[in-house]
């Protein structure tokens, strides 16, 4: 029941975005400052995007018309209402908010702290209730991964000074590669 409604919604959003992109294509695509000859520029930068957006609009329209003929728009979805009030729905929303927040904080808080927050909250949301397991995974895995990547593979990961200083005694003990 839910997929049927969501596929119409997804197609509807794609349809609206494609129409908007078509309408505002003059603002969204910059023309070359000087007109180039056909030898240099056989095709304008607008041609292919126009064709693809037109294709998207047509395909989305065909899909929406087929669904409308089947009466999908009229279906009152009580199951969806139930789903919105369910714990699963809110768990997913919380997960999305945490993931987006952690993505934005990665450079500011550093890799280990961000991953600790992200992994702890994901563990709880997935259903792990063992505090020992959650803490072990959320601390040990990012710390060891950070050490392997920065010390063994010699590749930088974003990290704040404080954490780098705390880890320094550990990394100094490790053999250099």
């Amino acid at each position: 029941m839910i997929p049927r409604q969501t596929d119409i919604r997804f197609t509807g959003i794609v349809f609206i975005l494609a129409v908007l992109a078509l309408l505002f294509s003059s603002q969204l695509i910059v023309d070359p400052p000087i007109p180039l000859t056909t030898d240099l520029l056989a095709m304008s930068p607008r041609v292919f995007p126009f064709l693809i957006l037109l294709g998207m609009v047509l395909v989305a329209l065909i899909f929406l018309l087929c669904e409308a003929r089947l009466g999908a728009f009229k279906t009152i979805n009580s199951m969806e209402k139930d789903y919105r009030t369910s714990r699963n729905f809110w768990r997913q929303i919380v997960f999305l908010i945490i993931t987006i927040t952690c993505a934005l904080l990665l450079n500011r808080l550093g890799f280990i702290t961000t991953m600790f927050l992200l992994m702890t909250s994901t563990s709880v949301l997935v259903g792990n209730r063992s505090l020992v397991q959650i803490l072990c995974i959320s601390i040990l895995v990012p710390v060891s991964f950070y050490i392997v990547v920065t010390h063994v593979l010699r590749t930088a990961l974003p990290e704040v000074d404080v954490v780098q200083r705390i880890l320094m005694p550990v990394t100094q003990l490790l053999p250099s590669f």
Binding site: D7, R9, V14, A18, L28, F48, F95, L157
Partner: protein, 502 residues
């Protein structure tokens, strides 16, 4: 070419390559064995690691190991707990789990392993033999021919994707459109960048792939909550006898041919090959009524067909730069990160590396047999691991893998953006594979099409009908192929559904 092949053989015979292949095989089998973890997801988070090791002769074979291991690993939960680890193992459930119910899971798992290794070995040798003539033909291709083959491939990918054709076409167009973001390939003028510098180079492939494949799986796991493995996940029962394997050899050979053929066509992939292999085994059997009730031939037919796809998908990838499915799209990303651009000139410019990778693929099958045999009991236990322990590690790998690919913080934003698109598409039952293919091939298609127009000049009718008749034939045949394949695919899906229920 023979000299390049020998140089490739020399380059492939390195101990570190085999150590990394073994690691890839084990990781792939682990990922495949975990219900809810797909091969695409596993590979997407491991692509950046293949880049970090630096050498393409280590990084690419490592991923090929993950690919092979993952496709086989999916059969473990399919057989033990009736939950296919990957889409490729759906047909394995029908008879594999019935054998488990009869107390013979060991027999089913061993048959799956032998069928997978035999078919994989033959299809890899076929790939190695095929790549030379195909590359020689493709070398004669100019932009018009490449553009027409890409157009044909995109149509095939859209019509053979999961679900209705309209959905596949919509996702394909969406993927192509995402490929337009950034500088125009001819004039260098920005398109859909909204004035930002970050978007001028376009979206990077790796965060896009991780976002589309890994984040929706994690999101789904959050929805479903913790799923611990069943107590059925045990490796018990009789071993597979030699006479039982001999009896199934004909089925394995038939499925190898089917899988190899399917692998050569972009877009079809392992799930379709597995169903075709299973149905062919059932149709050819003297006792079709035993299928679905614990028939070893059913396991052999499905497993041989899905693993035989692995090798031939490399032919269009390496010679034309066209990935056959989502996993080969990830391999394409790995090749590009290593500075290798799959396409007609790859064999000329980096022939030694290409042959080394293909030879490593062939040798990997022997490692696959040994490691698979030793580790079956271990992966039978892996099925019982709680998902809540693995999902947090996966999300960490998704984030770090994205960042490590280019050390660009904007890639994390791309990851989240495509993650949201993937989540929306998955909940709406849209297949993201055509979108990935569209993203990869759309820009190339535009570029080669532009070159074709430049070559044609003003008299394009004469150009199309006299100079490039091959291109015109492919372009004209594309809609016919699309319609025929679309009709056949919908009939095949209905038949497969009936086969599965039987």
């Amino acid at each position: 070419m023979i000299e390049t092949l020998l140089a490739g053989l020399d380059a492939a015979l390195r101990i570190d390559t085999f150590v990394w292949i073994s690691g890839g095989l084990l990781l792939g089998m682990l990922m495949g064995s975990l219900p809810g973890f797909t091969t695409s997801m596993g590979m997407s988070i491991l692509v950046p690691i293949s880049f970090l090791v630096g050498d393409p002769l280590i990084g690419i074979p490592f991923l090929i190991g993950v690919y092979k291991g993952g496709i086989y690993g999916g059969s473990v939960p399919a057989i033990l707990i009736s939950m296919p680890g990957t889409g490729a193992s759906i047909a394995t459930v029908f008879d594999g789990h019935e054998l488990t119910k009869k107390g013979q899971p060991r027999k089913a798992l061993e048959m799956g392993l032998y069928a997978s290794v035999i078919s994989d070995l033959f299809s890899d040798v076929f790939t190695l033999v095929m790549i030379i003539p195909v590359a020689a033909i493709v070398l004669g291709f100019g932009p018009p021919e490449i553009a027409s083959v890409m157009f044909l491939s995109l149509v095939i990918i859209a019509v053979t994707s999961m679900g209705p054709v309209v959905k596949g076409l919509l996702m394909l167009c969406l993927g192509i459109w995402f490929g337009f973001v950034g500088a125009d390939p001819f004039s260098g003028m920005p398109r859909y960048t909204f004035g930002t510098n970050e978007l001028y180079d376009g979206f990077h492939l790796i965060p896009m792939l991780i976002g589309l494949f890994a984040l929706p799986e994690i999101f789904n796991a959050v929805k479903e909550g913790d799923i611990s493995g069943s107590s059925v996940g045990r490796f018990v029962g009789e071993r597979l006898r030699l006479d039982e394997l001999k009896k199934s050899l004909r089925t394995i050979c038939r499925s190898t041919v089917i899988g190899t053929g399917v692998g050569l066509i972009p877009g079809l992939g392992q799930p379709i090959a597995a169903m075709m292999g299973y149905i062919a085994a059932k149709n050819a059997s003297k006792h079709p009524e035993t299928f679905g009730k614990g028939e070893l031939d059913g396991v052999a037919g499905a497993e041989a067909a899905n693993n035989a796809v692995n090798g031939p998908t490399m032919v269009p990838l390496l010679t034309l730069g066209i990935p056959g499915d989502a996993v080969t799209a990830l391999l394409l990303g790995a090749f590009m990160m290593q500075g290798l651009r799959p396409g007609p000139t790859l064999l000329e410019t980096n022939g030694e590396i290409v042959f080394a990778i293909l030879i490593a693929m062939v040798i990997a099958n022997f490692l696959f047999l040994v490691l698979g045999y030793i580790s079956i009991p271990l992966f039978a236990r892996v099925v019982t691991i709680k998902r809540s322990l693995l999902i947090p590690v996966t999300i960490m790998l998704a984030f770090s893998g994205t960042y490590l690919a280019r050390s660009n913080p904007f890639d994390i934003v791309t990851l989240i953006g495509f993650g949201l698109v993937g989540i929306a598409a998955r909940s709406a039952k849209f297949d993201v594979a055509p979108m990935v293919m569209g993203f990869i091939l759309g820009r190339e298609l535009e570029y080669t099409f532009g070159q074709t127009l430049a070559l044609a000049g003003t008299d394009w009718v004469r150009f199309a009908l006299t100079e490039r008749i091959g291109m015109t034939a492919v372009v004209l045949a594309t809609p016919i192929v699309g319609v025929l394949l679309g009709v056949r695919m919908s009939k095949f899906r209905q038949r497969a559904l009936k086969g599965g229920q039987a």
